[in-house]
Point group: C2
Chain length 107, copies 2
DNA sequence: TACTGCTATATTGTATTGCTAAGTAGATAA
DNA sequence: TTATCTACTTAGCAATACAATATAGCAGTA
């Protein structure tokens, strides 16, 4: 799927949060997950900037640990604010999807 | 619904195209329509920039006509490229919605 | 006339965001 | 040594939604 860039704005943040909410993970793994899921063009750089942004917004807790097969990893989990933010994301997404159905004439 | 701004990026363009596809219309009317639909915070300035962008992308045909109750109106309709672009928008949206369901664990 | 309000479009600047591109660095296998 | 995979960082760019402001036509009213 091409030309998704603009439509991912806002959505990508929620996707990353959702992934983290399902269990402690790190940037590289998140990127691989998104690629496998079908977001083939999303690269590491994009995910890392999202993670740093979420960290600045204080939605994540971070732990640095060694990896056996490479350099240090930064493991992320959601804190309470992150959980709330994620819930808010899904509400917004549901709202937009509902309005889109209405505009399209399916409701 | 607050904080939709970032999530509207990419979507708003499709919404405006869809509205125009349903019959000749103009910026002010589109804004009113979106407000009534529930996008309460979308203002004229936002819609006009979208329209000008779509016009530059050559997706619209434009006709200026007088109004009895105010200044000149710019009426928009979709051309062939606009129809194709709109179809592409809905495909991308369906793709993203599908992936979101997968991530959320509903698929 | 002067004003107020509604209709209608245009423009400028800003913040946010996804992405590109380049770099740094550890571990492992050839 | 070299290459490859893992793993994170950063500078800068392009696109977008939005705020703010400006311009202007028309109707009603005092």
């Amino acid at each position: 799927m091409n030309g998704l860039t603009e439509m991912l704005k806002g959505v990508l943040e929620g996707v990353v949060l959702q992934k983290i909410s399902q269990g402690e993970t790190y940037g590289y793994e998140i990127t691989r997950y998104l690629n496998e899921l079908g977001f083939e063009d999303i690269v590491e750089g994009t995910v890392y900037t999202v993670l740093i942004r979420l960290e600045k917004k204080q939605l994540l807790t971070v732990t640095k640990r060694k990896s056996k097969i490479g350099p240090m990893r930064k493991f992320y989990t959601l804190n309470a604010a992150g959980v709330a933010y994620l819930a808010s994301f899904w509400e917004k997404q549901a709202f937009i999807e509902e309005k889109l159905r209405m505009i399209k004439g399916e409701a």
